[in-house]
């Protein structure tokens, strides 16, 4: 591992100034992903700016009745919060499905949002990877891609976004508060992420040195009846092959509102807008749920080894909606 400097500024503004002044600086939260990538040689920053002790670890109400969650709160503390568990159960369940207890105790939520793909080619510096080294090629398409994307990928990159938490947050229309050299702004979380296209190395729409300071959750009534389901190769401590975050509100036997996103299937947390449109006003039946799943997965372009994900995603969504329709 290459030597690097470490700094622990007292305020978010100081942290931004430090990163802005250096061409190869990285923010350090819990370090559960970044430090691994430094050991692998994927990341080689010359300065780590520790933002884990900036006291951004509170959960509080917003004026519109939603919640604001500090960027530095740990995954464990977010999932344990009684308000999150009651009002946004899909978010608590998604966080609890990720990694292990030890990692959740350490990892921050901003770091969770910005964690990198676990594509084996991205993590192996002896292999080409357009995401890690632009223009070097993507061996995954003709190589090992069983775990990789069926939606939103490009000829340059078929990686998946690994987060569970981000899937639930995208379904909830969460927004992220950012602080950069030019001040503050707030954007929808869904707009933070970029599809790979022909520039897979540009993973987000963050400006240079921009820091996530908080996540806002809107007051979303249907979210109280929601869940997160995850299918993986082993029962725990594994990334998703396919996951779904879904919220469902039913009135008079018909779907009044729904929020749906998939994980493990795309380079970004995948909001299933087509499925949501197909459900609007439809009878809350298995047939409607299957039609909604088909409407979304019609977009899928699976690779030879991961075609199973299309069926898996459809079945997982239908079963999750059925269970939510019976509560």
């Amino acid at each position: 591992m290459k030597p690097f400097a470490y700094d622990r500024p007292a305020t978010p503004a100081d942290a931004v100034a430090l990163v802005a002044a250096s061409s190869r600086a990285r923010y350090l939260g819990g370090g559960t992903n970044l430090v691994d990538l430094m050991k692998l040689g994927v990341e080689a920053p010359d300065l780590l700016v520790d933002v884990s002790r900036l006291s951004q670890d509170a959960i509080g109400p917003t004026p519109d009745g939603g919640l604001v969650v500090g960027a530095g709160i740990t995954n464990s503390d977010l999932a344990a919060d009684p308000t999150i568990r009651t009002r946004y159960p899909m978010l608590a369940r998604a966080v609890l499905s990720g990694a292990s207890g030890q990692l959740r105790n350490q990892a921050t939520i901003a770091g969770n949002l910005l964690q990198r793909t676990r594509c084996s080619y991205f993590q192996d510096v002896s292999k080409p990877c357009n995401r890690r080294r632009p223009g070097s090629g993507c061996p995954a398409r003709s190589g090992h891609h069983r775990e990789l994307a069926i939606l939103g990928h490009s000829s340059a990159c078929v990686a998946t976004h690994p987060s569970d938490m981000a899937v639930a947050m995208v379904a909830l229309d969460a927004r992220v508060r950012l602080l950069g050299p030019r001040g503050e702004r707030t954007i929808p979380l869904a707009e933070l992420y970029r599809l790979p296209g022909d520039q897979p190395d540009r993973e987000t729409r963050l400006e240079p040195a921009e820091l996530i300071t908080a996540v806002e959750l809107p007051p979303l009534a249907p979210a109280a009846n929601s869940d997160y389901r995850k299918v993986r190769d082993r029962a725990s401590f594994a990334f998703a092959l396919v996951s779904v975050a879904a919220a469902l509100e039913i009135a008079d036997g018909h779907v009044a509102a729904s929020r749906i996103a998939f994980g493990g299937v795309a380079p970004i947390p995948w909001r299933a807008s087509r499925a949501e449109r197909a459900l609007r006003g439809a009878p809350a039946t298995e047939e409607s749920f299957a039609r909604a799943a088909a409407a979304e997965l019609d977009l899928a372009r699976p690779l030879p080894e991961n075609a199973f994900k299309v069926t898996l995603a459809a079945n997982l969504l239908v079963q999750t909606l059925l269970d939510l329709s019976r509560t």
């Binding site: 608590a92 207890g101 725990s236």
Partner: protein, 95 residues
């Protein structure tokens, strides 16, 4: 912070250590300090919070059954595969 060296009281083993011996919950022993510390942490109040396998997230399980123990211990790997007896040993202490 308590490490494995601090779990026993002088010559008196921690109840989890005794249970691991009684249940033959190890083979090579390499992972055992981590298994014991994770189990001790888990039994010291973590049941006040739900896990991924808790059916109702608004109601923490209180008592940890085998499914809860397996989920909450999943970050500790045992390459000898002593998992079955590790769960037995922890369940003995969890009551």
């Amino acid at each position: 912070m308590i490490t494995i060296e601090g779990l026993a009281e002088a010559d008196e083993l921690h109840p989890l250590q005794t249970a691991f011996v009684d249940r033959d919950a190890l083979q090579c022993g390499y992972c055992t300090p981590g298994q014991l510390c994770s189990a001790a942490g888990m039994l010291a109040g973590e049941a006040d919070h739900p896990s991924f396998v808790t059916p109702d997230l608004t109601r923490p399980p209180g008592r940890l059954d085998d499914g809860e123990i397996r989920e909450r211990m999943s970050g500790n790997l045992c390459r000898c595969g002593a998992y079955v007896n590790i769960v037995r040993a922890i369940a003995d202490v969890a009551g």
